[in-house]
Each structure stands twice: as structure tokens, then as C-alpha cells.
């Protein structure tokens, strides 16, 4: 292995080859191959049912691929799922927080699970509260928080252990445009710290914020490039137009 290849390997945080997931006769994710560079904001775009969530679950080690290879943070999804889990963060569409725990208790729980030390936990909790401007909400029960705040909290918890990669599965569902913009600011700040952000969405305008996007139609990749290049290639004004062109032949929606 020469040194350039080594560096290339080192710069990659996710790599898949022919990744496929079948449920009976239904192929949810069909032979997808792509890679994500370190520190990149990588968008996974597609309509509902295109296979985004299935793909993200395989990459997080929640679901076993039917065939194909996926390496996440240097570990094989098929055999080293528990190693992957130490190095990633995950935020689901449902912002799975505990309603009956306070803001700081939710943070503390996950920090503890990731094996962080008491002192560091206390420090991180305060740091995150300051970042989010949540200092006064430390002792608030999560059930009383507005949804936009829950979203930010869920995101901050998913990166509390400063993972290599964070997976966000439709993180901006159900919140207003202002909150979405604020949320993307958080994503940028995270990527600047060198954390790779893998985000799925069906909001085409959000795709413009990503470094590169991958469009999924019926479980297959139909386009993969930076938003600008995609727009140039298809001579479209925005990503939404590109998607409409590509998704014309979809079967599932």
C-alpha cells in the first residue's frame, strides 16, 4: 500500500460497496455504492419509502445488510457493529428523548453509556447548555420543551461523546423554517469540528446546505455529486427540479 492510498483510506469515514437490503421480495436498498469523506456534510435525499432510513439503519449497525460491504469509521457493519456504535452518534426522526427525565439527566444518561467520566460529563453538559443557550432549562423536564428545542437537544446528545460520524435521520421533520435554519447552523458548527455529518431528508431546499448529496429513488442511487454540479449537469435552477427530473419514473410513491 503506497502512502497516497493510505491517506485516501484515512480520509474516508463511510464507504459502501453494493450495499443491499431485502425484506422478502422487496428490495428496500438496492446495490448502493458511495463514500463519505471525513468532515463532510453528506445528504441522503429521497421521497418517503426510497430506502433512506433502511440505509442509515444498516450503517449504524441496527440492521444487517443482505449483501454488500459497508465500512463505517473503519469497521465492518456486518461483523463489527458494536465497534461502530462507539464511534458514531445517531438521531432518529422521533428525537428519542426521555420525557420524564430532565434536560441534564438525558445528557448525563447517554454520556454515561458512552463511558465518559463524571467530571467530563459535568463539563460537557454545561458546555452544551451554553452552546444552545439552554442554561435556564437545565432542570426542565423534556416533555415540556417545545419541539424545536427537543430537536436541538436530541442532536446535541447524539454528539455528546464527540463521535467521528453523526447520523441524522430526517432530523428536521415537523419543525418550522426558522428552527430548521437554526438547526442547520448547529450542523455546520459540528462539521467544522471535524465530525462527519450524514443526514437524510426529503426537504430539497436543505440539500443545498450539504457538501455533497446522494439521491435515492426506489432504493437505487440516481445521482451523487455536489449540489452545484448536479444543478449544472441537469441545467436546473434548484435541487428540487433535479429531483423531479430524476424521480419521474419512481414506482414506490
Amino acid at each position: 500500500m503506497n502512502s497516497t492510498a493510505y491517506n485516501y483510506q484515512n480520509d474516508i469515514s463511510i464507504r459502501t460497496e453494493g450495499l443491499t437490503k431485502r425484506f422478502g421480495n422487496f428490495t428496500a436498498v438496492d446495490n448502493i455504492t458511495f463514500h463519505v469523506k471525513k468532515g463532510e456534510i453528506f445528504g441522503f435525499l429521497g421521497a418517503n419509502g426510497a430506502g433512506k432510513t433502511t440505509a442509515i439503519k444498516m450503517l449504524c449497525g441496527l440492521s444487517k445488510p443482505t449483501s454488500g460491504i459497508a465500512m463505517v469509521a473503519g469497521y465492518d457493519v456486518a461483523t463489527q457493529a458494536e465497534h461502530i456504535k462507539k464511534n458514531i452518534g445517531y438521531m432518529s426522526q422521533k428525537f428519542a428523548l426521555y420525557d420524564d427525565l430532565k434536560v441534564w439527566e438525558n445528557m448525563r444518561l447517554y454520556a454515561g453509556i458512552y463511558g465518559m467520566k463524571e467530571k467530563i460529563i459535568a463539563y460537557r453538559i454545561n458546555e452544551i447548555l451554553m452552546q444552545l443557550g439552554f442554561e435556564n432549562e437545565k432542570n426542565t423536564f423534556v416533555k415540556t420543551l417545545p419541539i424545536g428545542w427537543k430537536q436541538k437537544l436530541a442532536f446535541s446528545i447524539s454528539i455528546i461523546h464527540q463521535p467521528e460520524i453523526v447520523f441524522l435521520d430526517e432530523p428536521t421533520g415537523g419543525v418550522d423554517p426558522a428552527a430548521r435554519r437554526q438547526f442547520w447552523e448547529l450542523i455546520y458548527a459540528t462539521a467544522e469540528k471535524g465530525i462527519t455529518v450524514f443526514v437524510t431528508t426529503h426537504y430539497m431546499d436543505e440539500a443545498e446546505y450539504c457538501n455533497r448529496i446522494c439521491m435515492l429513488v426506489d432504493g437505487k442511487i440516481v445521482a451523487l455529486d455536489s449540489p452545484k454540479k448536479l444543478k449544472d449537469t441537469f441545467s436546473a435552477q434548484n435541487i428540487d427540479k433535479v429531483f423531479r427530473l430524476l424521480a419521474r419514473n419512481t414506482n414506490r410513491t
Binding site: 440492521s63 458494536e82 427525565l101 439527566e105 444518561l109 463511558g115
Partner: protein, 371 residues
């Protein structure tokens, strides 16, 4: 890691509006009501007597029945139709018919016939009512026979009297049979089903998925679900023991330590069983129905209501998988008989095997990733 998970579980338990109160109040409520309503001693059997004789003898018999304490004399009539009306409209449970020449045929012919009719819609009440009533009549019969023999100056014919002696429960109080069963049911609910429902509710909320993408160890996760409910289960058990002593002056003859040791193994078996269900159920609704099905099966197979020896052979074999069967035997043995550990070794082995079986199954079937 376990520390953080336990912290979470205990906080969630204590903040629950319902559960902590349930654990404290439930033992009191159930122990003050359940033994009384499930008592198999039947009192207040409503009785009607059709007395066509109106003789001193018939009066004496009726008085004797009244003073036995088991019956409420609703009506004394000469009219058979009246009695049938009463039994059909469920105003009486049983009626006794004394024929017209009750006294005279007793004296002259030395025999007569009575008829007892019972409403067998409630089989238990009918059966016991008939038995009690026959016993009173037998007694009355004996009194008469003895007085005849005296009058005729004959030596009494030898008869034999059977005096039952109920070992370990001399007064044959059904409460003493029910309380151990109640202790067991309470532990089964608190330690078996609450953790199962807790896990399924995390599935419903999606929080279990969030835990599954963390490097959390599945043994730790399962332990963190079980330990709080074990603690709570033992608190409930202790409250039960206390309440049984307070209300019914009922305290184990045998050792409390044995009681707790066996309960611990039982609780382990039940919680393992609950976990197995939680691994397969996807919603609370599913879990509740599966639990309901198995609890009924376990209870019926346990020998709580009917002795296992009465069951058909296949059911007796099946009853070995009911953890309730062993623990009910054990608690009755400890409470009433004061059995020692080695007397109950078979039950201990049975419970241990079940505990091992269910927990192994639970750990194997828990998946941090789905197919």
C-alpha cells in the same frame, strides 16, 4: 455504565404518577379485600323451608338450622310453588322440604324422607350449602335417635364418630390458603410484568432504538430493567408479610430467610419470562394480551384454585412449567408447616431450572439489531 442506567430507571419509576403508589397501596388493598372475597367458607346461604308438618320436631329442626350460623332463613312456607318462585328469582339458594307427617312417621315408622334442592348456577354455593345442611340434619337425626333410645331404655348401638384434625391449619381457615397465593400473584405482577411492559413502552417510544445504537451492553441494559423491579418486588413482598400479620395475625411458621430466598429465585424466573415476552412483542397491546394469556394458564396450572392432582395427566406435566406452582407450594409450606430448606429442595430445583431457562432465552432473544 450500569450506574447511569439504574439512575435513569429509578428516577423514571419514582416519577411515575401511578407505579410507586400502586406498589404501596396494592398490597394493602388486595390483602384486605381478596382473602375475604375469595374465601371458600360459604356463609349467608339463603334458605327457604317448606314445612308441611308444623310439628315440634319440624320447629326444632328449623331452629337448629338457623342457629348453625351458615344460613339465612328467608321464608318458611307450606307452598311448594312459592319456594320454586323464590329459587327462580334468585332470592334463595337452597330449599328444604319437610313432608307432611314428618314427626309422626319418624316416631312410628322410625324413618322419613327430606328433600334438599339447591340452585346449582353457583356450583360452589350449592355444593357447600347442601353439605352444611346435610350435616345439620344428621346432627338433628342423632339427637332424636339418642332420645328414642333413652325412652325405650335400650343400650345405644355402637356408632363411630369421625373427628377430622386439620394439621397445619387447625381451623381450616381458607384465608391461610389464599394469602400465600396473593403474595405470589403480587410478585409475579411487579417483577415479571412491569419490566416487560417497561421495555415494550421504550420500543413504542423509539428510545430503545436510541439505546441500541449506543455501545450499551445488552446484559447491563437488561439488568438495569430488572434490578429496580426486584427491589420494588421485595418491598411489596415485605409489605404483604407485614399486612398479613397485622390484619390476620398470620406470620410464617418457618424461616423468613427461606421465604426471601425462594421468592428471589421465583422473581428471577418471572422476570426472565417477562423479558422473553418483551423481546417478541412490538406494542404494549400485544404484550398485555400475551401476558394475560400466560398468567391465566400459569394460575390455573399452579394448583392455586384446584389441586394439581385433580388435573388430567397432560395438564399435570404441563404444570411443571408454571413457576407459580412451585412458589405457591413453598410459601404455603413455609407459612403453615414451617418446612426447612431441604424439605423444599425439589421446588428449589424446579424454580432454578425455570429461572435459568427463561433468562437464557431472554438474553439470547434480545437483539441490538433487527434482521
Amino acid at each position: 455504565m450500569l450506574k447511569f442506567l439504574l439512575e435513569k430507571e429509578f428516577k423514571q419509576f419514582l416519577r411515575n404518577r401511578f407505579l410507586p403508589k400502586f406498589v404501596i397501596i396494592f398490597p394493602f388493598a388486595i390483602l384486605s379485600i381478596f382473602p375475604l372475597v375469595t374465601s371458600t367458607e360459604i356463609k349467608n346461604i339463603r334458605l327457604c323451608v317448606i314445612d308441611r308438618d308444623h310439628s315440634p320436631y319440624s320447629m326444632r329442626l328449623i331452629e337448629k338450622i338457623k342457629s348453625s350460623g351458615y344460613f339465612i332463613l328467608v321464608n318458611v312456607t307450606t307452598n311448594e310453588t312459592k319456594a320454586f318462585e323464590l329459587i327462580e328469582s334468585n332470592k334463595i339458594d337452597i330449599f328444604l322440604e319437610l313432608p307432611q307427617h314428618f314427626e309422626s312417621s319418624l316416631i312410628k315408622e322410625k324413618k322419613t324422607q327430606l328433600m334438599i334442592s339447591a340452585n346449582a348456577v353457583n356450583g360452589m354455593k350449592a355444593g357447600l350449602g347442601t353439605t352444611y345442611l346435610s350435616r345439620v340434619i344428621d346432627d338433628f337425626n342423632n339427637d332424636i335417635r339418642i332420645s328414642f333410645l333413652y325412652r325405650e331404655k335400650k343400650t345405644p348401638i355402637s356408632t363411630f364418630v369421625i373427628t377430622p384434625f386439620y394439621r397445619f391449619n387447625p381451623l381450616m381457615k381458607s384465608i391461610f390458603n389464599m394469602i400465600p397465593a396473593i403474595l405470589v400473584m403480587l410478585m409475579a405482577v411487579v417483577c415479571g410484568f412491569l419490566p416487560a411492559l417497561n421495555i415494550v413502552s421504550e420500543k413504542e417510544n423509539g428510545t430503545i432504538e436510541q439505546l441500541n445504537v449506543t455501545p450499551v451492553n445488552k446484559f447491563m441494559l437488561i439488568l438495569s430493567k430488572l434490578i429496580p423491579f426486584w427491589v420494588v418486588g421485595f418491598i411489596a413482598l415485605s409489605i404483604c408479610i407485614f399486612v398479613a400479620w397485622l390484619f390476620y395475625d398470620f406470620f410464617p411458621v418457618g424461616s423468613l430467610i427461606n421465604l426471601y430466598v425462594f421468592s428471589a429465585v421465583f422473581v428471577l424466573a418471572m422476570s426472565g419470562f417477562g423479558l422473553v415476552i418483551s423481546n417478541y412483542a412490538n406494542s404494549i397491546q400485544q404484550a398485555v394480551f400475551i401476558i394475560f394469556f400466560f398468567v391465566l394458564t400459569f394460575v390455573f396450572l399452579s394448583g392455586l384454585y384446584t389441586p394439581a392432582a385433580n388435573m388430567p395427566e397432560w395438564a399435570q406435566i404441563l404444570s411443571y412449567i408454571s413457576p407459580l406452582k412451585y412458589i405457591i407450594q413453598v410459601i404455603r409450606l413455609i407459612y403453615l408447616k414451617g418446612s426447612g430448606f431441604f424439605d423444599m429442595l425439589p421446588q428449589f430445583i424446579g424454580l432454578s431450572i425455570l429461572a435459568l431457562f427463561f433468562n437464557t432465552w431472554a438474553v439470547l432473544s434480545y437483539r441490538k439489531r433487527y434482521l
